[in-house]
């Protein structure tokens, strides 16, 4: 026992020494990206094959926790890249002054919208949607139909969850000044509000509600990983709000070239092909015919809704107050 542990300790030291000569690229991301089930491990291996560097992922909660972490660390952060913010957070991220322009020409983007942000580059995206079982009757086709129906839904709290905030923005983008009326109508459909996506989805799978706020890509997991075709997403006529997940380079990075290499790598197939079946989102730069079989069965919203980062930042507090008022009654 003792000898093996000494050997193990020696190996670790040796490994540390071997890495010592290599530059380290530190990428802060949300926890589920780096977990064994997420894209992190495969992407790390693929990038390290080409970069002669040590890519280190550091996990921090979800997107909002990630931004809070960077704000806490400030200019002294070790992060070279932050990966996993969405467009509801990028205005606040810009305001910190900690991020630098990426200077990467993004070609071959396959987002449903145009992209010209000089600081943040997208790596994946998805449509928010209400997921339900295929045997559900009278599936609502819009927010107004949902509000008028007796369908029971589970949503996430915008104060503690990124999809929860996404739903606020969805209603805001679709209805603007009429959003309060929509929320009043939805209030009696909402079974409960959970702190995060995992709890909401778990409750839905346990049969606690007819529908759950998730993504149009969620049914792909059940189809591809579980061979279960009983989940689908409801198409809403107002259009579906987009979540675009982005990465950005820190101004204070000590590895600017390596960081740019990583951002370029992020848009190549070696990175993009990992996304669909690990993050269960659409890759940001991969044509539809390169998606894994099963993705063609997903609903294709006709209208993509997205507030600009500035609009989202401006609408946020009012939308939250509306939501709280409607649901507290």
């Amino acid at each position: 026992m003792k000898t093996t542990s000494i050997i193990a300790a020696g190996m670790t030291l040796f490994a540390g020494a071997a890495f010592a000569d290599m530059p380290v690229l530190s990428v802060y991301t949300y926890d589920s990206f780096t977990s064994d089930w997420g894209p992190g491990p495969t992407i790390e291996a693929a990038f390290e094959e080409t970069c002669a560097c040590d890519l280190q992922f550091v996990g921090a909660g979800d997107g909002a926790a990630l931004l809070a972490r960077i704000r806490l660390e400030g200019a002294r952060t070790d992060a070279d890249i932050v990966l996993g913010l969405d467009t509801n957070l990028t205005a606040a991220a810009m305001a910190t002054g900690l991020f630098a322009p990426h200077a990467v020409t993004a070609t071959g983007l396959t987002l449903p919208i145009a992209w010209d942000d000089p600081v943040f580059l997208p790596f994946d995206w998805g449509y928010f949607a209400f997921v339900h079982n295929t045997d559900m009757e009278n599936v609502p086709g819009s927010f107004t139909e949902l509000a008028a129906s007796d369908a029971r839904i589970i949503i996430q709290d915008p104060r503690s969850s990124t999809p929860g905030l996404g739903l606020l923005m969805w209603v805001e983008a679709a209805y603007g000044p009429d959003a309060p009326a929509i929320w009043d109508g939805l209030a009696d459909n909402i079974v409960t509000v959970t702190p995060g996506w995992s709890e909401a989805y778990g409750l839905f799978l346990a049969g606690e509600a007819d529908m759950v706020l998730s993504y149009t890509t969620s049914p792909a997991y059940h189809l591809i990983a579980e061979n279960d075709a009983t989940k689908t997403a409801a198409m809403f006529t107002e259009g579906h709000y987009l979540q675009v997940e982005v990465a950005g380079m820190l101004a204070g990075t000590d590895q600017p070239e390596l960081a740019q290499d990583f951002l370029r790598f992020m848009l190549t197939p070696a990175f993009q092909e990992v996304i669909p079946t690990t993050n269960w989102m659409y890759p940001a730069a991969l044509p539809a015919d390169a998606l894994p079989p099963g993705f063609e069965t997903l609903i294709q919203p006709e209208t993509a809704l997205l507030l600009s980062p500035e609009q989202a930042a401006e609408a946020r507090d009012g939308a939250l107050a509306t939501w709280q008022a409607a649901l507290s009654r």
């Binding site: 089930w37 996990g59 926790a65 909402i190 409960t192 995992s198 989805y201 778990g202 939501w323 649901l327």
Partner: protein, 520 residues
């Protein structure tokens, strides 16, 4: 009372150091967060609503847990039956579960698609709705009833058997028993138990929100989340963290002031004897045990049924995380004992008791998010917080187990000092040998119980590791959340069952270890 004239020994000095450490652990993170704030914050109407809801649900949960625990604990103390030990051990399980697991277990029984509603629908009766204040209280009672039962049972079993002999020969009726033994015993222990449950429920957030049915059920802890992640307003986060501590401190002072220390007289540690007229109460007692068992066990059975199929194919990462969690929880238990024992010795001396008990209770009053963020701010300038994730988690877990350990240890310590202390002093015993020979043997049961509790809590708690999370150092609860977050619900259910079994197993081992030479 305890010998006030004795100078402080090593143990008590250590106790004072622990108290100072706890105080530091409460104050430093709050101060660190407040220090980084840009502007002073004020409480708005939404905050007052959150404070109101927090206090109401915590009060209801604590009252119901303690009141319901009394008949169950008495029944378990009074009746002897085969499998009693197993019942006592299994009944502790809900307290040890991670929040989301317990919620899913409760929903499998009481949820919309749960067993109860299926049964009601089958009988043509209207179905029940779990979401709302009553759902929050139901879940908190599910969590905390077992804790209250176990702590009360400790107190009941601590009544010296000589008292029972006397009661038996005097032909005591049930009301005599209540007046002479149980009443004083409850006055001494119940307020403290009420307090810890109130404190646990005060920092509740996921249970309150998920079962509360929406933003009506906003607790102060959720308001802290909002301040921290939604608004990144550290001043507000610190202020709300302070509000939480103030609520807890007020409750603690009110309750600790009301608790009346009692000593039920010395015993000679004889084997326990049967309760007078235990048979008369058979029906009521077994009904109490049966109902509590049904309420507490059914959700666990549901969890077990869901988890078993996934257990054999559980990914290796989950097993590695389980190994880390077991080691972490055992270390946590020893650290927690190291904290609690000297502090209990200091409290038992009597001087400054309320203040010390307050400090001892408050380590669970600070928002985990504030502690985590505060520690991060404190560590970041000097070390890599991610590299320290496991030790920091263990330390914070040990501190949060302190209130439970003190609840188990302090009454036993006071009792031991009062009954054995004078003799020990008369015999000229001092310091360590006095403690080892006169006091420690009387603490065996609460020590085993407390260590088991600390270990199991550390096992099941997500803890501050979620904030520091290093990808390769996940504990089992963290890994379970990761599985859930990656759609792998079946694997997550398997991991939850593994967590339940390991928590219970560790608790059982420690708890048994504390009862080696007890006949119960």
């Amino acid at each position: 009372m305890a010998s006030r004239t004795q100078p402080l020994g090593h143990l008590q000095w250590t106790g004072a150091a622990v108290a100072a450490l706890v105080l530091l652990a409460i104050v430093a993170p709050l101060a660190a967060v407040a220090w980084r704030a840009d502007a002073a914050a004020r409480l708005g109407a939404a905050d007052w609503a959150a404070i109101r809801f927090t206090v109401i649900q915590a009060l209801l949960s604590a009252i119901l847990s303690v009141v319901l625990a009394i008949p169950v604990a008495r029944a378990l103390a009074r009746q002897r039956f085969r499998g009693r030990g197993l019942v006592v051990a299994l009944m502790g399980a809900p307290f040890l579960l991670p929040v989301i697991v317990a919620v899913l277990g409760l929903l499998a029984v009481f949820g919309r698609n749960g067993w109860v509603n299926h049964g009601l629908a089958f009988l043509g009766l209207p179905t029940i709705e779990i979401y709302g204040l009553h759902g929050v209280v139901l879940a908190h009672v599910f969590f905390n009833l077992p804790l209250a039962v176990r702590l009360l049972l400790q107190a009941w079993l601590a009544i010296p058997s000589e008292r029972f002999r006397l009661a038996q020969s005097l032909g005591f009726s049930a009301s005599d028993m209540r007046r002479h033994f149980e009443g004083p015993m409850l006055r001494m222990t119940a307020p403290g138990i009420f307090l810890v449950i109130f404190l646990i429920c005060t920092t509740s957030f996921a249970v309150a929100l998920t079962l509360g049915g929406g933003p009506r059920a906003t607790t102060v802890e959720l308001a802290i989340y909002q301040a921290f992640r939604f608004d990144f307003d550290l001043g507000r986060a610190a202020l709300l963290g302070l509000v939480q501590v103030a609520i807890c401190a007020t409750a603690a002072l009110a309750i600790l002031g009301a608790a009346v220390p009692q000593v039920l007289g010395a015993g000679l540690d004889r084997a326990p004897v049967a309760w007078p007229r235990a048979r008369q109460h058979r029906f009521g007692d077994y009904a109490a045990i049966g109902l509590a068992g049904l309420f507490l066990m059914t959700p666990l059975v549901a969890l077990a049924l869901q988890g078993v199929p996934a257990l054999p194919s559980l990914p290796s990462v989950a097993w590695a995380a389980a190994g880390r969690s077991v080691i972490l929880s055992i270390l946590t238990a020893f650290v927690a004992i190291g904290f609690a024992l000297p502090m209990a010795a200091l409290i038992a001396r009597g001087q400054g008791r309320t203040g010390l008990e307050l400090v001892g209770a408050l380590s669970i009053a600070v928002s985990p998010l504030v502690i985590g963020t505060g520690l991060f701010l404190l560590l970041f300038p000097v070390a890599n917080p991610v590299a320290l994730a496991l030790p920091v988690t263990g330390l914070v877990n040990a501190l949060s187990a302190l209130p439970f350990l003190l609840r188990a240890l302090v009454p036993a310590m006071i009792e031991a000092e009062a009954t054995q202390g004078r003799l020990a002093t008369a015999l000229g015993m001092r310091g360590w040998s006095r403690f080892r020979l006169a006091i420690l043997p009387r603490l065996r049961r609460p020590l085993g119980f407390g260590a088991g509790l600390a270990a199991a809590l550390s096992m099941g708690d997500l803890g501050v590791i979620a904030l520091f999370s290093a990808p390769s150092q996940g504990t089992l609860p963290l890994e379970m959340y990761r599985l859930m977050g990656a759609y792998r619900t079946d694997d997550a259910q398997g991991a939850a069952l593994l967590l339940l079994v390991l928590s219970l197993g560790i608790f059982w081992l420690f708890d048994r270890g504390g009862r080696v030479n007890a006949t119960t």
